[in-house]
Symmetry: C2
Subunit: 625 residues, 2 copies
């Protein structure tokens, strides 16, 4: 950007990646970073109270404010750490942001790579010997290339534009082909042909980079969806479009594309390829996310009759969307079912082959929206329910994404609390599974009563409580910056789990299936990684059943997308799969409110019958509701 463009502006250089953003002098640094789509955590609206928007000044740091001193320890203050919301831009600065796209969502990244199935990739490489045109054979480059690989000549200008740089001299070349023709040429015989499976979550973007020749996963990465600054859930993002009809869709489209480009660039760099070597992408996500990725107005998804613009598979080129892959790479979105049961669920159904399972199974994808599919000997019935962002670590006082420093699970035993922290580092907050296990464990030892109130019945834990009412809290970790579970967090959790459970119960009633007769409950989504199966029925999130019948299937949606990426023939199979799902609209269900209220309390647990003891808290909490 030119220095000339506007006085009254200053540059922020971001370390380590060197990106430069510009903002008005006098503007909040947090606001500038958010407006430029720099990924930075913040949950208090820039009021200086959440302490998440930490930046480190590499140029001379400003004097610390009261907010800085309240949120950041003195050693870090001395090292230049400040809150971005507590300072305004006064001139050009160089900073490091505590949690940018550079810091990947470890949990989503560390789930096991999908197995390589049958390989039938949509893009293939062929190495051929090439002889430059001569007086004897002056045919056009495109014609000679088509003859050399026995294919139709390329007709798409960006592909044609690639030819002269390579085909005007002799040598071995790599010809990259897709079903409808030649896509690219590269010098040498061992060009890389990669594909990308993209899961556009409301909260988290997750990418798998795959070598299309071997089927091997070259890397995975995940980060927060930068659209979050427009709202935590799909409804608030659509509300942003309603508020700003002209800019809303372009804003949200640009934010998600920027986020995907940053992640793809990071993945490519790690795998030692260039983003231009990514020749195909399959995309899953909920319908609102896919509408926004394609730049399509999602209004209508949020109001009755909840008709989306599309659910069928779509296809366009990376350059059509502004995705910085190979410009001609086809980007395919997998089909969805309805306004709230999207391609992510269909990807999960494909991956788990739910339609081919005998008996009665449930598939749950737990996130900001909970999607639920009941399979009855291959017949699939689906619904969706708004759980809110608690399961993704948002709306929780010290909630965070599954990044380094997030508590992902809690266990209480022998009077001790053990917190597993992602990255084996000091805890900074808790992610969704951390919340679930904290609540389940405290519930098991009687520190939370069936109504959800904190009850310091356990002598070993009572000194960990402080505060009153909604701000009453339980200290999970010790040290200078402890992580607390607040009474309000337990309430958020209860509303979220009640929404999911109500969806499950509604589907079971519709199908006249007794919960006890379920053969399996499959839990998908990034949320399922690191989950303790026994915590699910214990909190009432799923019906009471033997935890052995719970299968944690992890990121089934993403693996489903990888599967389609590696076997192009599955594209039509997945179309048929999406068409067979019967959708149940819960918003028209009269029993929903009654069921929801019924499932806000926790099911009775062992601690409700006898005074809680440390030993009892280790027993599986499988009491009946």
């Amino acid at each position: 950007m030119s220095k000339r463009e506007g006085r009254g502006k200053a540059e922020i250089t971001l370390v380590p990646d060197g990106a430069v953003v510009r903002g008005a002098i006098g503007a909040s640094i947090l606001r500038v970073l958010q407006e430029c789509n720099v990924q930075i955590e913040s949950s208090c609206g820039g009021n200086g109270t959440c302490g998440r928007c930490r930046i480190r000044f590499l140029t001379r740091p400003p004097e610390p404010t009261a907010h800085d001193l309240a949120q950041i320890d003195s050693a870090d203050i001395a090292r230049g750490w400040r809150l971005a919301c507590a300072h305004t831009l006064r001139g050009d600065i160089r900073i490091e942001v505590a949690s940018t796209t550079g810091e990947l969502d470890q949990k989503a990244t560390e789930t096991p790579a999908p197995p390589v199935g049958e390989l039938n990739p949509p893009v293939r490489l062929r190495a051929v010997r090439w002889t430059a045109p001569s007086r004897e054979d002056p045919r056009p480059l495109a014609t000679r290339l088509a003859v050399a690989v026995d294919a139709c000549p390329p007709r798409f200008p960006p592909t044609l534009a690639r030819l002269p740089g390579i085909l005007r001299s002799d040598g071995t070349i790599s010809v990259i082909e897709q079903a409808d023709g030649i896509l690219d040429v590269r010098p040498g015989e061992d060009a890389k042909v990669c594909g990308l499976a993209i899961d556009v979550g409301t909260t988290t973007l997750a990418l798998h980079l795959v070598d299309l020749a071997s089927g091997r996963t070259l890397g995975r990465a995940a980060a927060r969806n930068p659209q979050r600054r427009f709202g935590a859930d799909v409804i608030s993002r659509i509300a942003h479009v309603r508020r700003t009809p002209a800019d809303g869709v372009p804003d949200l489209h640009a934010a998600v594309v920027d986020g995907l480009n940053a992640l793809a660039a990071t993945l490519a760099k790690t795998a030692k390829i260039t983003p231009e070597e990514i020749y195909h992408a399959t995309v899953v996500g909920n319908p609102t996310m896919l509408h926004l990725l394609l730049g399509i107005d999602p209004r209508g998804i949020d109001v009755a009759p909840y008709a989306p613009v599309f659910t069928a598979r779509t296809s366009c080129r990376a350059s059509d969307l502004g995705l910085r892959l190979h410009p001609c790479a086809l980007v395919e979105t997998l089909p969805g079912v309805s306004a709230y049961v999207g391609a992510d669920i269909v990807g999960g159904l494909l991956e788990t082959a739910l339609d081919r399972r005998p008996g009665r199974s449930l598939y749950l994808d737990i996130g900001t929206n909970g999607e639920i599919v009941l399979a009855l000997d291959g017949h699939l019935i689906a619904c969706s329910t708004a759980a809110g962002p608690a399961f993704e670590g948002a709306s929780i006082v010290q909630g965070m994404a599954a990044l380094h420093g997030a508590i992902e699970s809690v266990s209480i035993g022998d009077g001790r609390i053990t917190c597993d922290v992602i990255g084996k580092t000091a805890a900074r907050g808790m992610c969704g599974t951390g919340l679930l296990s904290a609540v389940a464990e405290l519930r098991a030892v009687g520190a939370i009563d069936p109504s959800g109130r904190f009850a310091a019945s356990n002598q070993h834990l009572s000194d960990r409580f402080d505060g009153e009412g909604a701000t009453r809290r339980f200290r999970l970790t010790d040290g200078a910056e402890p992580v607390y579970l607040y009474q309000s967090d337990v309430r958020e959790f209860q509303l979220a789990k009640a929404a999911i459970r109500t969806g499950i119960e509604t589907l079971l009633r519709r199908a006249h299936v007794d919960a006890e007769r379920l053969d399996a409950v499959l839990i998908g989504g990034a949320f399922s990684a690191g989950l303790s199966r026994r915590h699910l029925p214990a909190t009432g999130l799923v019906p009471t059943l033997d935890p052995d019948r719970i299968e944690l299937v992890g990121d089934a949606a993403g693996r489903g997308a990888v599967r389609v990426l590696l076997d192009a023939r599955l594209a039509e199979a997945v179309d048929r799969l999406a068409e067979t799902v019967e959708y149940v609209e819960l918003s028209g269900d009269r029993e929903f409110s009654d069921l929801f209220v019924k499932h806000i309390p926790f099911p009775p647990g062992p601690a409700d019958r006898s005074p809680a003891s440390i030993d009892e808290s280790r027993t599986p909490t499988d009491g009946r509701a």
Copy 2:
């Protein structure tokens, strides 16, 4: 553009269209206008000597310079006319440019509209009753639309993005479909579905706007190719790419796209449609022009072995090229034959059905390059020869495009010279046909001798000569600003016609055909409009034959493009036609130089045998060479 962007800049507002361009204060106004792709004539390189870059100041005009006073009459000086090259930008100004895209190429525009053949357009309209989604039928908009018109659901994001604005309420809608699916929806039942046939000439851009439902031509427009500021012919345009490898192709691509967008907008406005109602385009042009339109590096076309990147039909969307039609409009380039026999020739062959003519025929397209096709009972042999820009009015001292004010034909009789001027206005210069007829008529009365030298043998004309040597000139028109034919212009003409003639003779020799046995000579290209058939053999441009066997077929290339636009089935026929043409490379021909030199003089005419008389000059000049 923001005022903030750079001090030291000023704005030029162009009247009447209101466009605003910006340039550095102190820069030549001509240079600023050229750099911003404003169409302005200039042939002296901004030296103040050609007098073509006239602009009229609507803000206070600067003091006239010596160049202004030498080139512009005092009445026009008083009205604010100045030379753009003679003044620098000193602040914001409002100006009118003497010859912008607003001034269309009248000659190209006034040729007769092509007849409507069999209609099978690539895009069709269907009006259907639409009912908005309801609780009873909340299926996605795209699915319901596909069912309503019994087509595949649209899968391309820009098409999907059009749906919510129209399909969320009840009413009659127009569904616009192409072979592979739905392209657009519009409110109401009578949407316009238009197509564009584009002829990208090295010198002139020509467009036909067609109603695809009726086949009717809605308008035609032509203007100078703005690429001309990078060079007059294809070789100098490719040289620009060689000089500036990074920017060359983008510069040339942007220039032609800007020119086409301006013309399409003008045409659309006149036809009372929006450019977004243009849903398909077919393009003809020489291979270099098509490479540059598609943004493909043309280097290789200019050096042996003269292998282009492509000649086959290509297809992409308007938005891929930056053409402001409907963004999803398919833009198809017709196939060419070789590096110098392009889609314009193939369009002409289709239009004239040369491959289905019995006997021996020649097809000539006369322009900066001359393309020649010999048809022998359907067998087609082609070659190309570089004539230089004389036939397009360039490289001639007072040459100009076929715009208002151009002399397009000259006749000499009864001691009087009659000049037909385009637009029936005062002559400002001469276009290619004006040059040809001036030379032919002066030759017929003996004022030009067989070697091409001016010879004032005719008493009625001798007072019209002045000057010496190469600057000796003949006054064609009277008045304050006469138009002259210079001795150097006659030389330019001779080189150009010798090049064409040599191509013809080479093809005839290869095929062992005697020129006298030709059944027909077809002259295509904008050049052929307004041409006098007897002038062609008289100047030696074509072999000596009965002028009745010469057919002036006009803009056959453009009509061929219209034909394909109206009948999509012709696309494959034209592919086959292009493949059947046998190409002869003249650059490897040893006899070429000898033949070329032989054809520089004129064939003997009537005035060479007897002292020229006015009466004799009216006799057809069909003497043998």
